[in-house]
């Protein structure tokens, strides 16, 4: 049992923290938001230069063979700096599908572009009524010759505006809420029949609603079994949840630090407001919440390697519950302790709060995952 980073992991942490300290303060971030698609190509290429975009891919695929802990380190750092670039969509999720189920040819076509920063991906999964159920898929993929024709509507596709390739979940068989008959398809973003409506999200990222109308793809578009890929989707989304937990831990760390600094310097009644016990206790409770979240983020990271799929997803669901509760408390209290200034766009704390808030509602909120744990028979 060991919770320390090894030497290589420590170096990785230092290198990404260093990179973001240099190129990602709050003012720089505002500039990046105004670039095309809402993030900085320059920063993205810096991440590529440091090998971070190839981190989880095997050495045979041109990557560095990093595991869950490495992704946790990166996501925590990205959270701490409130990074806009599409690491989750491209490397964790898009890369996850490629790592777990792609053929050598598919990997050869997509992985090098991810690693060198020239290509980004987006995960087109959410539908109007699917909410958090990954098996709830109305989008269809119908066989045509060797290939497929895809029809459907996908919503809130993160990085949908900029992505070169969309990873689309679509139903090849059965009814909307059947657990079988679901496939995963790689669709070029510029394919005929793909239309996008792009918009900024509440937390400063960019997303798109995407309509697929008679989109034709070849046989090489299918990742895994076109008729039975729910387990694959669950696996990759579990990894995305773990990554979001780590990102939230980074966000909470920075929120707490910023808030404590603020109450140490803000004076009222002639003294720093941090000298008041009610504020001290609130900050202590934020610390407790953040530590409990960190523990569960570590747990989820390690649980990701559990061989038993049920135990794995139960553990990750539990982590998402703890992170959801902690982030709500830390986020809300950060604003409260900042007082009026916390309500303004100028202060960075509100932006952390907004990103934290959106994480709770991504890939299952606290209630959703609590129900999953309860239905699985608990966690003792």
């Amino acid at each position: 049992m060991d919770f320390d980073l090894n030497e290589e992991q420590r170096l990785l942490k230092e290198s990404i923290d260093g990179l973001l300290t240099d190129s990602y303060d709050f003012e720089q971030r505002k500039k990046y938001m105004k670039e095309k698609g809402g993030w900085s190509k320059t920063v993205w290429l810096k991440l590529a230069e440091q090998g971070l975009l190839g981190l989880p891919f095997s050495e045979a695929d041109g990557g560095f063979g990093g595991g869950g802990v490495e992704t946790m380190i990166v996501m925590e750092a990205l959270g701490k700096a409130l990074v806009l670039e599409p690491y989750l969509a491209t490397v964790v999720i898009g890369g996850g599908f490629l790592r777990h189920a792609a053929t050598d040819a598919q990997k050869a076509a997509h992985v090098p572009g991810i690693i060198d920063g020239s290509k980004t991906l987006a995960f087109a999964q959410l539908e109007k009524n699917s909410r958090y159920d990954l098996f709830d898929v109305a989008t269809t993929a119908k066989k045509k010759g060797d290939g497929w024709i895809i029809d459907g509507e996908k919503f809130v596709v993160l990085n949908g505006e900029n992505a070169d390739t969309l990873v689309v979940t679509a139903r090849t068989k059965g009814d909307r809420r059947d657990k079988t008959g679901i496939g995963v398809f790689l669709v070029p973003a510029n394919a005929k029949g793909v239309t996008k409506k792009s918009y900024p999200t509440q937390d400063g990222l960019h997303a798109a609603d995407i309509t697929l109308t008679g989109v034709e793809v070849g046989p090489d578009a299918v990742i895994g079994n076109p008729d039975d890929s729910l387990a694959l989707i669950e696996r990759v989304v579990d990894e995305a949840r773990v990554a979001l937990c780590a990102e939230a831990v980074g966000l909470m760390d920075e929120s707490l630090k910023t808030t404590v600094e603020y109450i140490k310097t803000r004076k009222q009644f002639g003294v720093a407001i941090g000298s008041f016990q009610s504020l001290q206790h609130r900050a202590s409770d934020m610390f407790v919440a953040a530590e409990q979240a960190r523990s569960m983020s570590m747990f989820a990271t390690m649980a990701n390697d559990f061989e038993n799929a049920k135990e794995r997803s139960n553990a990750i669901a539990a982590a998402k519950v703890q992170i959801g509760k902690s982030l709500k408390f830390v986020g809300q209290q950060s604003i409260q302790l900042h007082g009026g200034i916390g309500m303004t766009m100028e202060a960075k704390i509100g932006h952390y709060f907004k990103r934290l808030t959106m994480i709770e509602n991504t890939f299952g909120d606290t209630d959703y995952h609590q129900r999953r744990v309860a239905d699985a028979g608990g966690l003792v």
Binding site: F3, H281, S295, M296
Partner: protein, 396 residues
């Protein structure tokens, strides 16, 4: 990073578990499961079994009878002990006064007291809190005056846990009235059978008697019963309180209770079906289990850190463990109350005589709920723990 215990650690867990299975008296275990109070005899019998095995004072240095276990082994032992469940060693002797004596006491004191603590030949109690000195412990007033070769002790202690069983007390006494309040305190041990010691039981809201008031009226104590240096008692008290870090989370205790809740919730009906099938209840239970898992991981982080980097200074993480650990213990007793519903009300009319098995198990649930309100108050209230985090961690 790695969650797994080593093969040797897993084998150790098995060894501990099977020792408990073979050696904890079944009645003792049953009473603990049901939240009943044990008799002095039941506790001492078990502690002597443990001591005979060599596990009575497991965390002491080996020259005084400790085991030399790693911090992970200690963790495993405690978890198994709490979740079996078996009575935990008497903290006042084993975790509190024992370490003070082997760290600050002289050779004579070590020889005299340590073996008797290990075998519970002496039952120790803690003379810290006073009516006017709770969270502000350093304001204590109990006085020890030097007269010839004796200390003359006058004053009053309170919340003295199980003093009714005690043979010995370790006591914080004021020995210098002129010094700053923390600087004039000494750590003195003496017999509870001494002339002038009076114990008055305090009945708590659960109906039990765990705590007492203890009065000292010109109690004469030999001068050599001072531990360490005169007026350094506050340092020893801080050492003593900071010594116990990871056990305070009582993860094993809560685990055992959650298993019991699951078991009972599968039997007790609500709306014509077991209450475990009620979605709202099940989710509340899951929520508590998730909190406990997070706490267990936090505790493991502290254990792993101690194993690697040594114990060093008191770790503020112990405040996190205390706050969350006590909250979760309280939640588990609330859930038990919810499971039994209207049968929470009857007082323990059936006693423990086994005359009505159907009702026996319900009788201690409300008392246990009432009793567990103490866990966020004792050992430094949760508000004091928040002060500690604010100061020691956040620098406020």
């Amino acid at each position: 990073m790695d969650l797994a215990f080593t093969k040797e650690e897993q084998a150790f867990r098995e060894e501990v578990r099977s020792f408990f299975r073979d050696n904890v008296p079944p009645d003792t275990r049953r009473k603990l499961v049901e939240g009943r109070h044990l008799t002095k005899d039941e506790m001492v019998t078990w502690w002597r079994i443990l001591n005979k095995k060599g596990w009575g004072v497991s965390h002491w240095p080996t020259q005084y009878g400790g085991t030399g276990w790693t911090s992970v082994q200690h963790y495993i032992f405690n978890e198994e002990l709490q979740s079996y469940p078996a009575p935990q060693p008497l903290a006042f002797g084993v975790s509190m006064v024992g370490p003070v004596i082997y760290t600050f006491g002289n050779e004579e004191q070590k020889k005299q007291y340590l073996p008797r603590i290990a075998n519970v030949d002496d039952w120790w109690c803690q003379g810290f809190s006073e009516p006017g000195s709770g969270s502000d412990l350093a304001s204590l007033k109990t006085k020890a005056e030097r007269r010839g070769d004796k200390w003359i002790i006058n004053g009053q202690k309170t919340w003295t846990t199980l003093a009714q069983h005690a043979d010995m007390i370790f006591c914080l006494c004021r020995t210098d009235n002129n010094a700053k309040k923390q600087m004039g305190i000494s750590f003195i041990v003496f017999s509870m059978k001494s002339k002038g010691v009076t114990v008055r039981p305090i009945q708590t809201i659960d109906g039990g008697v765990e705590v007492n008031e203890v009065f000292f009226d010109d109690v004469e104590v030999p001068i050599e019963n001072l531990i360490g240096e005169e007026n350094k008692g506050w340092d020893y008290a801080k050492f003593l309180l900071g010594n116990e870090r990871t056990g305070i989370a009582r993860v094993g205790v809560s685990k055992e209770r959650l298993r019991r809740i699951r078991d009972l919730a599968g039997k007790v009906e609500s709306g014509g079906k077991p209450i475990i099938q009620d979605a709202a209840f099940r989710e509340k239970l899951a929520a508590c289990e998730i909190e406990l898992k997070a706490l267990e991981l936090t505790q493991l982080r502290v254990v792993a850190d101690e194993g690697k980097h040594g114990k060093g200074k008191p770790n503020p993480a112990s405040s996190v463990l205390k706050i969350k650990g006590s909250e979760i213990q309280q939640t588990t007793t609330e859930l038990l109350m919810e499971v039994i519903g209207p049968f929470a009300a009857p007082y323990d009319v059936h006693g423990d005589d086994g005359s009505n098995e159907a009702m026996d198990w319900t009788a201690q649930i409300a008392p246990s709920y009432f009793n567990n309100r103490k866990v966020s108050i004792y050992g430094g209230s949760n508000e004091i723990q928040r002060n500690i985090i604010a100061k020691a961690v956040l620098g406020l």
